[in-house]
Amino acid sequence: MSIGSIPVRFRISIDPEQCMLCGRCIENCSYGVFRKEGDAIKINSRNCVACHRCLAFCPRDAIDIVEKPTDYRSHPVWTREIREAIFNQAKTGKIIVAGMGNVLPYPMIFDRLVLDACQVTNPSIDPLREPMELRTYVGKKPASLSLSEKANGDVELLTELTPNLQIETPIMVGHMSYGAISLNAQLALAKAVTKMGTFMGTGEGGLHEALYPYQDHMIVQVASGRFGVDINYLERGAAIEIKIGQGAKPGIGGHLPGEKVCADVSCTRMIPEGSDALSPAPHHDIYSIEDLKQLVRSLKEATEWKKPVFVKIAAVHNAAAIAAGIARSSADAVVIDGFRGGTGAAPRVFRDHVGIPVEAAIASVDAKLRDQGIRNEVSLIASGGIRESADIAKIICLGADAVYIGTSALVAMGCRVCGTCNRGVCAWGIATQKPELVQRLDPETASIQVANLIHAWTDELAELMGAAGINSIESLRGNRDRLRGYMLDESLMKVLDVKQVGA
């Protein structure tokens, strides 16, 4: 082959002074890096994806991993990644598929926004001593209330409220399907959200029977492939989400390869075993906003108007106008999935180049809905690139009601963000259906870790709110006055509607 082999991405070494030849690295690596030859452990560095499974289970800290041990001639335009993508496509002639989220070094808007705190003129509030309310209701709210008050002080409520999801923290877990992730991973998430009084999404993979005990905390997804959807599924969910698009790959559908469609996945998705699960790019019954409205209302009708219906779109240029259209479709919440959102598998070109950051999308959607006087008609859920509690505080200040986390919940279960989810051999038992790998993930332990993360972030949010003199999360929502932009350009600050630091 004229291109020849390209440099290895990672160089693995084992310190012979430390290694006791226990073989745990061999057992744990699902990518075939290690093998035993005689009394020695041999290494094939080319297979390594840096998932750190070997490293994490080496009892002697004997393993070392070095990224990019061989340099290319450095060049600002023809980067290593660009060159290697060309090699790859020259060899295969195909679209490059990759896992996880956007890898390009776009500026991180979150990191250029800073939060406020009280000093002297108003007291900060100590969440350990005073009530601090993070409870959030996701769903449609009336624009005004009609109350009738009698002379004796009795009050009658004349306005009928539509169903909302009550969450004790504004943090929910986004949609990752059974198929994309393992049943043990879904079980862990389900136990965690149930414990924390919040919700998770099923993704477009149906609802496995093992999750029925947690169904009151599950948002069931209806996506373009309609996998796993029947009336039983809809009725079990606490809410229903129509997925139009996804931040990691706006504008295209999904592809679960047949080899991942084992017997169990096939039953849950309601498709033949071993067949590819292809979700079309559009819903073939939604070619316009009025079609979406029909689907929203059909799903509500099917479930007797007892469940909120969400609509998820990828954050694209015109997200504000699209969200305003969705708000008028009877939908109860709009999910805006930013271009940093993760995925099991996406074409690299989409993952890295299509869509906009969630910060800008939420700011413009919130502004558009307010302009049209319909902000209360829907809740806004932000997702895609929420990495820490500060991101949550900031996106709520920009106008979100709540967030979905995805990648960070997986990281809490051990995921090292190696970006190889699409290969289906996740050594951590998360993004795989291979029984021997899936059983590595103990749902009980993993659920505690995910619950711990949500708990810790919720505590941090409470502290941030208290420091800002706010004891109820609704006073943080859309409160852009408590944000300042640091080294953000003027036009972006205008979109975000925040002032610069010092102003």
Binding site: E130, S144, L157, N471, S475, L476, N479, D481
Partner: protein, 373 residues
């Protein structure tokens, strides 16, 4: 508190933002339920009693019932930066929107220790309601819209009082000096509110002093609203423009929205602005739970956070309430037909030495006085 703020570059021309002020502030209000009038001399004394809470950079009064001869007309109180340049423009606007029945300079005393940086003027105005045929409250809507337009234009004219049979009198200075400047003892009202201001960052813009007024609503406020950004974005989507560079004005707009436009009672409006905690709501009987949950869901963006004690007046009521954990003082007392609300009991006792039923309202719970005549 306020974010009272001030214009830095020129009276009404600054583009600079909101500065918070009044960290402390003293407030006092009194209502006579039978509309028996009191002149302004006692409230002047009571407000001065709280000079510890002020800094001489702002004080103000509002009195209801002071213009009986023009009771059906909107009394517009205006600051002009330059009477010759600014007044003709406003005259022109008012002429297009209705009829000015009478206008005059607001009488001031030359002897008071106030530097007269604006000329205070008053108009008695009748809007032409045929201009807003679709509105249920055309007169109010015309006056409100006109006030928002004039104040956002920031061209040397500020309308700071726009109700009927009431008037705001405010300036930069100590309470007694502001009172003497406006000869406040000459006015007789059945409902008074007054405010002694301690701005933390302010040369003392007159427009930033309290009370703030919109139509029938007047507000005095001690504190700082940490939810201002949320509240402001909420009311802006209903057409209100924040023009005073202070967090206090949102209270007047929120009350106008909730009470006048949404039809809530003042008690329920206070419930929306300072609602019970979820823990309390969860422990209520089902019906009450439902009502309180509905209020919090619907009016979450109107919830006011941060430390505050507020008095809100309208033609027929005086309401005092604090934030949900009472980070600012508020005390009430009664005698006969009169209800008193203030930051300090001492101030109430200046107004009425024999006051009875001195009580400290619980956090978030409103004290409401209504006229019965």
């Amino acid at each position: 508190m306020s974010r009272c703020s001030h214009f830095i570059e020129g009276m009404f021309k600054s583009t600079q933002a909101i500065l918070r002020c009044d960290t402390m502030c003293g407030i006092i209000g009194v209502i006579d339920r039978r509309r028996q009038c009191m002149d302004g001399s006692a409230i002047r004394q009571a407000l001065s009693m709280m000079n510890e809470r002020g800094s001489g950079q702002g004080a103000g009064y509002v009195a209801y019932g002071i213009y009986p001869e023009y009771r059906d007309l909107y009394a517009l109180h205006v600051f002009f930066d330059n009477i010759r340049e600014n007044k003709p423009a406003l005259d022109n606007i008012l002429e297009k929107l209705g009829t000015v029945v009478h206008d005059e300079e607001i009488p001031t005393s030359d002897e008071a220790k106030i530097r007269k940086v604006h000329t205070p003027w008053r108009y008695f105005f009748r809007p032409d309601r045929s201009l807003m045929p679709k509105s249920a409250t055309p007169d109010d809507d015309i006056v409100m819209q006109m006030m928002m337009d004039v104040n956002t234009a920031k061209n040397g004219t500020l309308i700071f009082s726009s109700g009927k049979n009431l008037g705001v009198f405010k300036a930069s200075g100590w309470p007694e000096d502001v009172a003497d400047f406006y000869r406040i003892q000459d006015y007789k009202g059945y409902l008074w509110l007054a405010h002694n201001r301690y701005p933390t960052n302010s040369p003392g813009w007159w427009g930033g002093a309290h009370p703030f007024n919109l139509l029938d609503w007047s507000v005095v406020h001690n504190g700082e609203i940490t939810s201002y950004g949320t509240n402001q974005r909420y009311i802006q989507s209903y057409g209100y423009q924040c023009t005073m560079y202070t967090d206090t004005e949102v209270v007047a707009y929120l009350f106008d929205l909730l009470v006048r436009r949404h039809g809530l009672s003042p008690r329920m409006a206070c419930r929306a602005l300072a609602p019970p905690f979820w823990d309390e709501i969860d422990g209520m009987p089902p019906k009450e739970q439902e009502i309180n949950r509905a209020i919090r869901l619907t009016y979450g963006p109107a919830l006011m956070n941060g430390p505050f004690a507020i008095c809100i007046a309208s033609e027929d009521s005086l309401v005092g309430f604090t934030d949900r954990i009472k980070l600012r003082p508020l005390i009430s007392g009664e005698l006969g037909d009169r209800l008193y609300i203030s930051s300090e009991e001492a101030a109430i006792r200046v107004l009425e030495p024999d006051v009875e039923n001195i009580t400290m309202p619980k956090a978030g719970e409103p004290v409401i006085g209504r006229v019965i005549a």
